[in-house]
């Protein structure tokens, strides 16, 4: 009964809100909490503000085994103001960490890209640490049709 109500509510809401709503209503079986914990472990108690970072990841992915993922940070990259590090986290893989990259003023452009594994439809977060000690983030919801095969017998 409850489920039907949810679905009807969803349909009503679907007019404007689209797929993002569907994702948030999904039962969260795992670990937004453990992701928060992992983030705290890496960046400490610092305040994270959304902005400056652009996480470029396709919104709909067929195969979670390789998902192209790029992070760009808006920064002049001078000796006074540069991006120190970029961290990427996920919500529902067995482990919340994805990659941590340390750059410096010599990078010229704060932009990295890699290919990641995603086990399930979930949210991915990129956090950049700037030289002035501030942290900025961007997140993206990714829908995975076929997750990275955790269970596949070899």
């Amino acid at each position: 009964m409850r489920r039907e109500t949810t679905r009807r509510d969803l349909l009503l809401a679907a007019g404007g809100l689209g797929l993002a709503t569907v994702v948030t209503v999904r039962p969260s079986e795992a670990t937004p909490a453990s992701m928060q914990e992992a983030i705290r472990k890496v960046i400490g108690e610092a305040q994270v503000t959304p902005g400056k970072v652009k996480l470029d990841i396709p919104p709909l992915v067929e195969n979670g085994n390789t998902v192209a993922c790029a992070v760009n940070v808006d920064s002049p990259m001078t000796a006074q103001s540069y991006v120190k590090a970029i961290h990427v986290f996920n919500e529902k893989n067995p482990q919340p960490n994805v990659i941590s990259a340390w750059l410096g003023p010599r990078a010229g452009r704060a932009s990295i890209s890699t290919r990641i594994r995603l086990a399930d439809t979930q949210k991915v977060i990129a956090i950049a640490e700037l030289s002035d000690g501030t942290f900025w983030s961007d997140s993206a919801d990714v829908i995975i049709t076929l997750g990275a095969c955790l269970e596949d017998p070899v």
Binding site: I99, S100, R106, G108, I112, L118, P153
Partner: protein
């Protein structure tokens, strides 16, 4: 043993921002999969990647099991002087591969 592909421009103007792309062959076994007998397949991944430009570190990355097999990583750097850009990947089971590329800066 492990094959590494590196894309560094052979020539660059001084002060140019150059893109560096790297790909190394590695299975990146997550340690979360099971074999047909139910035994956990032990983790075997590359954990760190360090890049130096004429012996100065310009890029370091820590990889986790969530990185896809055959890790592909791109980043940028400023072409400051002619020389060598050296790459080193280390990981589980004593994995340690080094590779380098020459660059001429005009």
């Amino acid at each position: 043993m492990a094959r590494a592909l590196i894309n560094v421009p052979a020539k660059a103007k001084r002060g140019d921002v150059i893109a560096i792309r790297t790909l190394i062959s590695h299975i990146m076994e997550t340690g979360f999969r099971h074999s047909t007998t139910g035994a956990v397949i032990p983790r075997d991944i590359i954990t760190t990647m360090v890049v130096t430009y004429n012996d100065t570190e310009i890029f370091k990355a820590e990889l986790h099991p969530a990185i896809a097999a055959n890790p592909f990583v791109t980043f940028h750097t400023v072409a400051t002087e002619s020389g060598t850009i050296a790459f080193r990947w280390t990981g589980d089971n004593g994995f340690d591969v080094s590779e380098q590329a020459k660059i001429t800066v005009e």
